[in-house]
Symmetry: D3
C-alpha cells in the first residue's frame, strides 16, 4: 500500500515509442524504494516516434507544459529526452522541480570525473548539444562528443549497439581524454554497466542521474 | 535486518564537532529508505573542532584519504564540509565514488535555477570558495556569495542564525539576482525549509544534495 | 514595377499585434531601395497578442517554421521578436538565411561599442535574455540589461515610454559603462533617434540591425 | 544625379595595390542601390603594397586616422583589411561609425552558423588573428583557422587560388566542424560564390559583411 | 668597470617627459646589482609628452620598433607605458624578449593575490585597458579598475596624488574585493610603498614587475 | 661579506631528493648577485622522494606551512615543485610572498609567447595540471600539455631525457602551435638551453621564473 504522503516523480518520455518508456522503467528499478517516492514512467501521447530534429523538439514543448501544469499529483518531473525539450517552458508552468536528463547527466558527470565525454546517437545532434552546453555554461570540462550514427531504434534494440558504443567510448577516453562518459540518449540504459566494464571509467545514464536528483528534491522538500 | 547486499554511503564530517555530525544525520532522515542504501554519518576523529582556514582543510586531507582507503565496506563517500577537503586525494585512493558537498551543492543548484547564490559563514572563506568555483569551471552562473559573519557554532545553534540567513538570502535574491540559494556550510540543514519559505526561491543544503547523488551512484552501479 | 529578379526579405512579427507590424514597416523605410530587395512585413496570424513568456515563445515556433518552409518566394527571413522564437527550428527548415533580431542586435552592437547595454521591457525577461546570450557565447561584452517594467503596449504607444527609456539608458551608460545600447524589443524603433540624442551614445533597433544583415545576405548571394 | 542628402560610405583599402581596390569595388556592386548610400572605394596612398606583418599594420594606423578625421563628407568608414588596422584609433577620431572587416566578418558569421572557420592567407597571421578574436571576446565559436600559404597577390589573381581554398574549406568543414566559412582577406571576394557552391555551407566575404552593416548604420541614422 | 659580458636591459619611456624617465630610473635602483644586468632608462625622443589617447599610442609604435631593431647591444627591452604601445610589432622585430609593463604588472599580480585591482590615471583609459586584458585572456581575476581622474603630470608630481590613490585603492579593496593592486601608470613608483602601507595589501609598480621578469630573461639565457 | 640588510629567498624542494635540490641551486647561479638577495635552496626533510601523486602533494602541505611560519629570516619563499603543493596554506601563514613554480612558469610564459605548451613528466599528472590551470583562470592560452612518460629520476639524470624532451617539444610547437614551452618539473633546468636551441622557441624553467619574480618582490619591498 502506498502511503498517502508518499512523493511522486513523473518521468515523461516525450516520444511515443513505448519500448523506450519501458526501458526507462527498467532503468529506474534500483531506486524504487519501499518508503521512497513513487516513480511513474509515462509516454507522451502527442510525441513523435523519435525526437531527432529541432522540429521534433518543438513539437513536444507545449504538450509537456500542459502535462506539467495539469498533474497536481506529482512532486517533481523528469523530461526523459537528451534534447531536454520544453525544459524552461515547463519550469515556467510550475514551482515544482522539473529536471532535464541532459542537464542532469552533465551535472552528475562533473561530480564523477574531470572531463566528460558524450556518446550521441547521430552526428547532426552534436551541434545542438554543444549549443545547449554553451547555454548552460558547462562547456569548460567537455572532453568531446562523438556519434554512433545509429538510429534511436537501432541503439535501443540492435545487437551491435553495445559494440559500437564501446568503440566510440574508447575514442572519447583515449583521444579526447574523457574520464567519465555520458550516454547521450534516453534509451541506452541497459548498456550502461557493460559499457562501464569495457571502458574502465564511469559511464552515466542521464535518466538515472536525473531521477537521483529528483529523489533528493522531493524528499528533502 | 539489513540485507547483506544493501549499499552503504559513508558521510564524513571532517571536523570533530559531534553536534554537526548529528545535524547531518537529522538532515538525511528523509532519504533513509527501507530497501535503500544505509547512510552512516561519521565524525573524523582527527579533525579540528571547525574547518575555518586553509590550514584546517589541509589537516584533514590525509586522514580522510586513509579513511577512504580503509573502509572497504562502503560503496560511496560524502565529505561533508563546504571546503571539500581532500576530495581529489580521496578520489585517487579509490575507484568508488567520492562526493564533496560544495561541488554537489553547486551542481544541484544548476538544475534548480538560472543563477545561484551562496550563503557563506565567514567573509574570509569567500575568496577560497570563488577559487574553487573557478577550479570546477562553474563560475559562469554564480549570482553572488555573501557571508553571515557568524562562527560555525553560532550558525548551527544560535537563535539569530535564521534571521541573519534570511537577510543575506534576500540580498542574494534581490541585489545579485540569484534564483536559487546554497547554504554554504555542512551545519545549516535545519534552517533550509524556513529559509526557503521566507525567500520564496529554492534553498539547497549541500550535504543533502551530495547524498542524493551518492544514492544514484550506489544504486545504479 | 518590381523586377522579377528582385530579392525579397520577409520580416515576420510573431505576435498578432498589427500596430507592431506597422511600426516595423516604418522602421525599415530607410532601407527600401528602388533596386534593392523588397522588404515585406508580415503579422503571424497564429501569434499571441504579445510575446512575454516562454509559453508565448513556444507557441509560435512551429507556425514560424511552417511559414518559412512554405514561402519559396522569399530569399531571407527576419524573425522580429527579441526572444528570437523558433530561430533554430526555422534554420533547420530551410537553407535560406534566417535572422533573429536579438542575435543581430547584439552582433551589430559589438561593431559599434566596446560593451553593450540592453533595455528590456520587463524584469522577468532579463533572465531569459542572459541565458540566450550565454547560449550565443556573447556574454563577455555585456555591460548590463535593465528593464523598463512597462508592457509592450505601453512601450510602443505610451507617452512616457521615451522618458523611461532615457532614464534606463543613462543607468546603462553611467552605472554599467555601456557605450552602445540595444532596444530589447521589436516595437521601440521610433524612439531610437531621440534616445540616441539624449544619451549621446549609439542606440540600436534590433530589427533594423537584422534587416541590414539580411540585405547583405540576399544581395551578395 | 546623386541626391545631396545621399549618404556616403568610404571603403578604404589600406594597401596600395590598386588591383585589390578594384576587386573591392566589384564585390560591392550588388549593394549599389539607386537611392541608397554611395559606396566609394579608395586606395590608401601611404599604404604598403600588401599588409602581411604587424609592421605593415602599424604603418597605416595614423594615415587611416588622418583620412577619417579629414573626410567630413563621409557617413561611415570601412577599413578593408583583415587585420583591422587602426580600427580603434580611427574610432577615437570620429563619432561616425568605423567598421573593420575582420570584426564584421566574424559577427556576420555568427548569425549564419554555429561555428565559423577562417581561411587565412598565411600561417603566420593566424596567431595574430587568434589574439584579435580573443580581444573581441569572440573565440567561443571559432571552429578553426587554416592557411592557404599563398601570397596576397597569388590569392587575388592566381588560377590555383580557388582550388586551394576549396581544399582548405573542406578541412574546416570536415575536420573542424565549421558550418560557415570566412575568407580571411580583403582580396578574395570573386571566389566567394564558387567556394560556397563547392563546400555546400555559407561562405562570407568580410568586406561585403562590413558594408552591409555600414549601410544599416548610415541609413537608420 | 662593467664586464663585457654583462647583460643589458633597456627600459624605454615612450613619452618625451624626462621627469618620468628619471622616475623609472629611481624605481629600478633596488635591482641595480653589481654583477647583474645593466639597466638603462631611455626617453623615446619621438614620443609625445604624455600617452593618453589611442593616437598617442599609435604614434610611438614604429619608433619603438625602430629602436628595438637598431639596438643590438641590448638583451631585453621593457616598454614602460601602461598602454604597452607597440609590444607586438617590437616582438616581431627581434627574437630578444620585449616586455610590456601592463602585461607584466598583471601577470605578477596574479602571483601575489587572488583578484587584482588597477588604479588608472583617467576614466577614458579604462575601456582600453579592459579590451587589452581581454586580449591577453586575463580578465577572469580582475576585481576592478578605477580612475584617479588626474593628469599623468599631476599623478607624478602633485601633492594630492597619494591621498587620491589611497582613496581609490580602498574602493578597490573594499568594494571590488581586490587583494592586490596595480598602479596603472609608469610614473607612480614613488607612491608604491606608502600606498601599500596605507592599504595593507600588496601594491605593484608595473615597471618594477617587468624589469624583474626581464632580469630573469637575460640572466637565464 | 653579506650585508645584514641583504634579502633572503628560500627555495624549498618539497621532495627529499637532494640531487633535485642541487639542481635547483645550479639553475639559480645566474641570479646570484653580489648585492642581491641571498638565494638558499633547501630540501624539505619530511618530503617523499618524489612528488608524483596527489597523496604526495598532500603529505607536504603542512610541513611546508610550518617551515614558512618558522623562518622569520626569509623575505620570500619559492615552492619548487610543479604541483605547487601547499601554496595557499603557506600564503595563509605569512604576509611575505610565497611563489609556486607552476604558477610563475605559466605567468612568465604568457609574457614570452602567445600560447604556451607544457612538457609533463607523466601522463597522469596532466589532468591535475589542467585542473590547476583552470583554478588559476589561465587556460585560455594553453596550447597543450604532453608527457615524457619518464620518472622524475630518469628526467633529471637519464641520458635520453633531452632527446625525449625535444621530441615532445616539437609536438607542442608543430601540432599544438605553442610558441613558448614550460618544462613542467623542478628537475629539468639543465636541459633548458639545449632544448631551446633545438626547438627555436623560448623554453622556460619554472623555478628560474619563480625566483626572478621573487627577486622583484624582495628588492622592491
Amino acid at each position: 500500500m502506498v502511503s498517502p504522503n508518499r512523493r511522486r516523480i513523473l518521468v515523461v518520455n516525450p516520444n511515443s515509442n513505448e519500448v523506450v518508456t519501458r526501458g526507462l522503467a527498467d532503468a529506474l528499478v534500483p531506486v524504487e524504494f519501499q518508503n521512497g517516492p513513487e516513480i511513474v514512467c509515462l509516454t507522451l501521447a502527442q510525441g513523435p516516434y523519435g525526437i531527432e530534429t529541432q522540429e521534433h523538439v518543438e513539437s513536444v514543448t507545449l504538450p509537456l507544459r500542459q502535462l506539467v501544469a495539469s498533474r497536481n499529483d506529482v512532486d517533481a518531473f523528469v523530461i526523459a529526452c537528451y534534447s531536454d525539450p520544453g525544459l524552461h517552458v515547463c519550469r515556467e508552468a510550475t514551482s515544482r522541480p522539473v529536471f532535464g536528463i541532459n542537464e542532469c547527466g552533465v551535472l552528475t558527470a562533473l561530480a564523477r570525473g574531470e572531463r566528460f565525454g558524450v556518446i550521441a546517437i547521430a552526428q547532426r545532434s552534436i551541434r545542438r548539444h554543444l549549443r545547449y552546453l554553451r547555454q548552460m555554461g558547462l562547456l569548460d570540462r567537455l572532453a568531446g562528443e562523438r556519434a554512433l550514427d545509429m538510429s534511436v531504434a537501432e541503439t535501443a534494440s540492435g545487437e551491435k549497439a553495445l559494440e559500437k558504443m564501446i568503440a566510440v567510448g574508447r575514442q572519447l577516453r583515449d583521444q579526447d581524454a574523457a574520464d567519465v562518459v555520458i550516454m547521450g540518449c534516453a534509451g541506452m540504459a541497459r548498456h550502461r554497466a557493460p559499457l562501464e566494464a569495457a571502458l574502465g571509467i564511469g559511464v552515466l545514464d542521464p535518466t538515472q542521474a536525473a531521477v537521483a536528483m529528483a529523489i533528493g528534491a522531493v524528499q528533502y522538500a
